[in-house]
Symmetry: C2
Subunit: 222 residues, 2 copies
């Protein structure tokens, strides 16, 4: 589970990191010929994007924990103050599963004997909330932010070495679309989807974003 | 439910649209003084980001549906070919709820009488998969993409009217941070979190991303 969480974070960060800086650099190549500006814009984007995703993810994780804890407190209170209402909600859950009234009744009796178990049940099956892991939120945000930076440097790297934007774009497109294809392949295998279709899908999104950014930038620049 | 889904899409698209183009433009203001380049880069970013989010979300939705359907098929097969194993999994679910063996047995018997109900139960509680809504995926992607564009135009708009990058940045910062504050306030109310803390959080992420992009761009440009 640990390693698949890490993999998931890397996949999220890298896929955005590969796509958006690539498309931005492609767009600028359509408007300016000097690569130093493309590099500056690309790095500014990587900084902005990695912070928005990393810090955003970290604080969203904290919020989720606060939300969980406040709901947990409320459920404990409700189990104390309106136990008949809460018991009825447990019964409805078993009713929705299609169990007979007899079994519903027995299950409710057994479930509500232990208050902690009862509250955990309500949290998970009434509210659909799993207990969030605080440390996990922190690590996850860090992993996503770093993966975004690593992913973003790949499409940008050719512009470091060539002086002409169009030239840089050609090399960047080959490298990035190749990476997106490989990446989409393995990403799809993780999620159990046909890997070839996944590879085509991820590559297509990157190409479409880049083409659109290029076209629009050329249009504005006249 | 319909309207809260729409609201959720707008919140996701707008918050990224406000943050990343704002930070990118801020970063470029630290490196170039001509606003026309900032505008071109900003619009290229908006095009790239809205496509990556919108198209990405649309195709991810399609993938999710494929995944659900392939798992559904597999569960139907397993219920036919290894019913005792699948029954045991149902029993384990009730065991984990803390029910007595007696009630577990009865619940399993009742649950597995109807194959469709049984499979739906396995999908939801063994695999944790809810039936995805195809039309919803399409609409959601569109809403997020459009919200990203609307959000992105806000921080960019001052640069249309002033000739100097630093001047544009000052106005952009005031407008965007104000929008992020208002936006964070209402976003938090949606998710049941303290709205003032939410407003501060969202504003802080935007400011941090912009400050970092600005600093790095200035550093590179030397």
């Amino acid at each position: 589970m640990q390693s698949s969480d890490l993999l998931r974070d890397i996949v999220i960060g890298m896929s955005d990191g590969l796509t958006v800086p690539f498309a931005l650099a492609a767009g600028l190549s359509g408007a300016v010929s000097a690569t130093n500006l493309i590099v500056i814009a690309g790095i500014a984007e990587i900084a902005a994007g990695s912070i928005a995703m990393g810090l955003g993810g970290y604080l969203a994780g904290k919020t989720e924990i606060d939300h969980y804890n406040s709901e947990l407190k409320r459920e404990y209170e409700e189990v104390e103050t309106v136990p008949h209402k809460e018991k009825e909600e447990v019964r409805e859950f078993f009713q929705n599963l299609g169990l007979s009234e007899d079994v519903q009744q027995q299950a409710v009796e057994e479930m509500t004997k232990d208050k902690e178990k009862w509250v955990n049940f309500m949290m998970k099956y009434e509210l659909g909330l799993d207990k969030p892991d605080e440390q996990r939120a922190r690590k996850s945000a860090f992993n996503i932010g770093v993966s975004y930076i690593v992913g973003g440097i790949i499409p940008l790297s050719p512009y470091f070495f060539v002086q002409n934007g169009t030239e840089g774009l050609k090399i960047s497109a080959v490298i990035t679309l190749g990476c997106l294809f490989i990446f989409g392949f393995f990403k799809s295998r993780l999620t159990g989807v046909n890997p070839w279709w996944g590879a085509v899908r991820v590559t297509f999104i990157g190409a479409a974003a880049a083409a659109c950014a290029f076209g629009i930038a050329k249009l504005i620049q006249g």
